[in-house]
Amino acid sequence: MTASRKAGGFATSTPTGVPPASRALRGTPVGDATRGPASARRIWGLMYRHLTLYRRSWPRLVDLAYWPILQMTIWGFTSRYFAQRVGSDVTVTVGVLLGGVLLWETVLRSHLGFAATFLEEVWSRNLGHIFISPLRPWEMLAALVAMSIIRTACGVLPAAVLAGLLYHFNILSVGPVLALFMLNLMIMGWWIALACTSLILSQGGGAEALVWSLAAGLAPFAAVYYPVAAMPHWLQPFVLALPAAHVFEGLRAAIGHGIIRWDHLAWAAGLNALWTAASLLLFWKQFQASRRNGALMNIGE
C-alpha cells in the first residue's frame, strides 16, 4: 500500500492511481466483439488460460504422457512375448497390438483433453466469469477441442517414439490413411467428452468419476485388440455403432494385409457425424437448462 493511503483521511487516502478522464471510457478502444477475429481472440484467451497452467507445472506435463507410455511399455512386451510363444508373425502381431494401443490412447487423450479442460473451470469455479464474458458457447467448445489436440499430441507422440525405439514399430508405416484413422478417433473422443460435459452441467462435479472412466469403459466394445467377429453375434450390432470399431477393423486390414478399407472409414465418419450431432444437441439442451436452473452460477463439487 502506498504511504498516502496509510496517512488516512479523504484527501490523503485518495488512491494514487485514480483514472484520469482522458483514459477512462474514451481511452484505448475495446474491439468489436462481433467480428471474426474477435472470435479467434476469445478462443485463444481460453486456450492461453489453460496453456499457462502447463507452462508452470511439470507434473501436469508429465501426466499428459505418463499413461500412454505406461500402456505402450506393458503392451509392447506382452505382445512380443505372446507372438514368440505362439509362433505367429511377430511384426504383424506386435504391429496390430501396438497400433491398437496408440490409436486407442488417441481416443482417451482427446476425450480427457477436452473434458479435463472443462473440469478445470469447474474446479476453479471460473465458469461464471467465462459465461458473463462475450465468449460464445461454440467458442468455448472450439477452445476445448484445440486444447484436446495439444494434449493428445503431448500424450501420444512420446508413446509412438517409444514404440519405435523399444519394439521397432513405426506407426507411420500404416501410411497416410493413419491421419484419417486418428481424426476419426479424436472426433469420437470429443463427442464422448461433450456428453460428459453435459453431464457435469447437469450433475456438477459429482459426475467427475464418470468423466475419467466413460471412454475407457468403451474399450472392450471398440474392437481395439480383437476383431468384431471375435465378439458374440448379439453384441456385434452395438459394437459396430461405435466409430472406433470400424477404425480398428481398418487398422488391422492395413497392418495385416496392406489394404485400405474405405468402407470402414466411411462408416466411422458417418457414425461420428451422427454421434457428434447428438452430443451437440445434448450439450445445447443442458446448457440452456443450466441457465434456467442457475447451475452456471454455482457449479462445483
Binding site: 488512491p15 485514480v18 483514472p19 483514459r23 484505448t28 474491439g31 474477435a38 476469445r42 481460453l46 441457465r291
Partner: protein, 250 residues
C-alpha cells in the same frame, strides 16, 4: 427533437421461479446512463438472482431485460462486451498470476493493446508489485483490487458490483470506495451496486432499490428514503424494511 439516450438498464416485470420458490417477483426498474444505483436487501432478497439475470447467466422465468439497448434474450453477447462484473465471492483462477488472469480476460473481451491496458490498470489500482503473484496468494484487499481490474479491463459502460468491499478492513474498504467514486466520475460509466454496507451505498449511490422477498419494496434517492422513513441513515431504513416496520411509519 433529440431523443433521450437508451437507459443503461431497463427491466420489465422480471420474475424468476425455481419450482415452488419465487426468487424474483415481478421486478421493474430503470437505471439511467451514468448513474450509480444501489440494490439493497437482506440475504435471499433476490439481489444476486437479479444480477445473474442482468448478466445473462440465468434465464428469467418471465419478463424482459434490456441492457445498453440490447435485449438480453436475443442479443446478450453484444451487451456482455460492454459490461462487466466484480464480486469477492467469485474468485479468479488461483494458479494463474495476476497478469495472466488479466491477459485471459483482455482476450475474452477482445481488448486491443491489452498489455497497455493491463499496465494502466496496474498503475491505477496499485497492482504493479502483484502482477507476477498467483491470484491464490493474495490477501482479501489485493484480491478485491485484482477483481476490480478484471472488471474494468474492457472499459465497461455498465459495471455490476456485488458487495465489492465485504471482507475488507475499513482502510482498504475506504480506498476502494474512493477509487470507485473517482472512476465513475471520470469514466461516466453506469454502476449497479449490490451491497450490505449502508454507509457505502449512501456515499456512492444516487438512487437506491430496496428488495425484500424477491420484490422491490421501495426506491428513491438516499435522501428521499431517509425523509420517507424519518431516519438519519440508510441502515435504519434497511432495518425498518427488513422488520416490516413500513406500515407503522406510514
Amino acid at each position: 427533437m433529440v431523443s433521450a439516450p437508451q437507459p443503461a438498464i431497463h427491466v420489465e416485470s422480471l420474475t424468476k421461479r425455481y419450482r415452488e420458490t419465487l426468487a424474483v417477483n415481478d421486478v421493474s426498474f430503470t437505471v439511467r446512463r451514468g448513474e450509480t444505483v444501489g440494490l439493497l436487501g437482506g440475504n435471499g432478497a433476490g439481489k444476486t438472482t437479479t444480477i445473474a439475470m442482468l448478466l445473462g447467466l440465468l434465464m428469467p422465468t418471465s419478463g424482459r431485460i434490456v441492457v445498453l439497448g440490447h435485449d438480453m434474450a436475443k442479443d446478450r453477447f453484444a451487451a456482455l462486451a460492454q459490461m462487466n462484473f466484480s464480486s469477492p465471492y467469485v474468485a479468479l483462477p488461483q494458479k494463474l498470476t495476476v497478469v495472466e488472469n488479466l491477459r485471459v480476460y483482455a482476450h475474452l473481451y477482445n481488448v486491443r493493446h491489452a498489455e497497455r491496458r493491463i499496465r494502466q490498470l496496474a498503475d491505477e489500482l496499485e497492482l504493479q508489485n502483484l502482477l507476477d503473484r498467483p491470484a491464490g496468494r493474495l490477501s482479501a484487499g489485493q484480491k478485491t483490487r485484482v477483481a476490480l481490474a478484471k472488471s474494468l479491463i474492457n472499459r465497461p459502460e455498465l459495471l455490476l458490483l456485488d458487495d465489492p468491499t465485504s471482507s475488507l478492513d475499513p482502510d482498504t474498504g475506504d480506498w476502494v470506495r474512493t477509487w470507485l467514486e473517482h472512476y465513475r466520475a471520470e469514466s461516466g460509466c453506469t454502476v449497479l451496486l449490490a451491497s450490505h454496507n449502508m454507509a457505502e451505498v449512501e456515499r456512492l449511490c444516487s438512487h437506491v432499490l430496496m428488495m425484500k422477498a424477491g420484490r422491490i419494496v421501495d426506491r428513491g434517492t438516499p435522501d428521499e428514503l431517509l425523509a420517507r422513513y424519518n431516519r438519519v441513515d440508510l441502515e435504519e431504513v434497511f432495518l425498518d424494511i427488513a422488520r416490516d416496520r413500513q406500515a407503522e411509519i406510514a
